[in-house]
């Protein structure tokens, strides 16, 4: 009976969470910025998810597993690249006023450069773009995954996009000046 139950648990787990493996990997790959590290983080996150599967009460399985992946990523970054985390940063204190990039139309978008500049964003901003623009999650889902209030998600996402546009525009004008 015990074996039956645990076999059941494992196959239910696979059925519920393996379909989200790409989403999990994509998030980890963007946050760690390295394919091998992303593999390790996802593997660890899934084992943790499996361990905590008893706490899963149904519902949005993608958000549930992404939350664990995200936490695992941050633990990994703290351990391996502690300087990347801008801890305790204040939403209000940063360059809000200097970022007013939206007024010039971006003429042509070089996707390669966009990817490079996304990697340069601080992780806290990068993840907003990943979850919203690549994963297509709602603000509410992102708030749940990242444990942030909805308003913070809203402003952080806006600033993430602003920063990205500023960086791209700087490249563009730098390129022209040469």
């Amino acid at each position: 009976m015990a074996l039956f139950r645990s076999e059941n648990k494992s196959s239910n787990f696979e059925e519920t969470f393996l379909p989200h493996l790409d989403a999990a990997y994509n998030l980890a790959r963007w946050l760690t910025r390295d394919p091998a590290d992303a593999d390790d983080v996802v593997q660890e996150a899934y084992m943790r998810a499996f361990k905590f599967y008893g706490n899963y009460r149904g519902g949005d399985s993608r958000s549930w597993v992404l939350k664990i992946v995200r936490n695992t990523c941050y633990t990994w970054i703290q351990k391996n690249r502690p300087r990347e985390i801008v801890s305790e940063f204040d939403e209000g204190l940063h360059d809000v006023e200097t970022e007013n990039p939206e007024t010039i139309l971006i003429r042509d978008i070089d996707k390669q450069k966009v990817r490079e500049q996304m990697e340069q964003l601080p992780a806290e901003f990068r993840e907003m773009i990943i979850l919203r623009d690549l994963e297509g999650l709602s603000y509410k889902e992102i708030a749940g995954i990242s444990d942030l209030p909805l308003g913070t998600v809203m402003s952080r996402l806006a600033r993430a996009r602003g920063k990205l546009q500023t960086a791209l525009r700087a490249l563009e004008s730098g390129g022209r000046a040469k």
Binding site: S10, K111, D133, G136
Partner: protein, 251 residues
């Protein structure tokens, strides 16, 4: 709408995350303000650039295989919570028995409810819930059927047909996802004067059926099945208006 306020909301606007009033204000503001319009276009351009496959990293087959095998290895010896201890068995057994007896008693004592009754009740509850709090009525406020329909893509495993019925006196005002009777359900929101009509749509294996008119808790409900879809229109408009609405939808 001031430009500065508008700017702050442009991202949420582009993401369809604003309430109806702000959404419409920004829509208007963008028409009038060239600067914000460019900003909006930039947001859209960036977003569409990111839909390129090169932005999305997929897990390798190798990782998938590794995961499967680690899951298999860790299968036995799961830590069990003490609740599963055998000494609790009598307690569970008696609790189960009690539940069983109550269910039997309740079924015997109460008049049998049909599935349709239960569903009608759920639909009315969903309608009431949608009206109760600001911002719950619509996930995607738009009067444009070509905006609402694609919004459901990827959120549902079926594509509800979305038609603006403004010409028939029922303008479309938006869409929402709901979860009823264990399924994700598309909810389209229409208006009749100041009244809201929720139209719930989901796939059904049942054959096409004629309108069934019900009233529950002071709300009128019309239910029909057509081409593999189940439709439930719920509103506080009068039955005549709701029937007119139902024929407009089915036309």
């Amino acid at each position: 709408m001031k430009c500065k306020e508008g700017k702050e909301l442009l991202n949420s606007y582009a993401d369809c995350e604003l309430d109806l009033v702000s959404h419409l204000q920004i829509e208007q503001h963008i028409k009038e303000c060239p600067e914000c319009r460019r900003a909006h276009e930039n947001i859209l351009a960036m977003r569409s650039a990111m839909t390129d496959d090169s932005f999305y990293f997929k897990a390798s087959a190798d990782l998938k295989a590794r995961l499967r095998s680690s899951l298999k290895e860790s299968k036995p010896e799961l830590p069990r919570s003490s609740l599963w201890n055998w000494r609790w068995m009598p307690v569970f057994a008696s609790a189960l028995l009690l539940v069983g007896v109550s269910i039997v008693a309740l079924t015997l004592l109460r008049p049998a409810r049909t599935g349709e009754d239960m569903l009608a009740k759920e639909m009315v509850s969903a309608h009431i819930r949608s009206m109760m709090t600001d911002g719950h009525l619509m996930d995607m406020p738009s009067t444009d059927q070509h905006t609402v329909k694609p919004w459901f893509d990827g959120k549902l495993d079926f594509a509800p047909s979305v038609n603006d019925l403004a010409a028939q006196g029922f303008p479309l005002t938006g869409g929402r996802l709901d979860y009823i009777d264990g399924h994700p359900v598309a909810a389209l929101i229409y208006q009749r004067r100041k009244h809201v009509i929720n139209l719930f749509i989901y796939p059904t294996p049942d054959a096409d059926s004629q309108n069934r008119v019900l009233d529950r808790q002071g709300y009128n409900v019309i239910h029909w099945n057509k081409t593999g879809m189940s439709f439930w229109a719920v509103s506080d408009v009068n039955v005549g208006d709701l029937q007119e609405f139902s024929s407009a939808v089915q036309k």
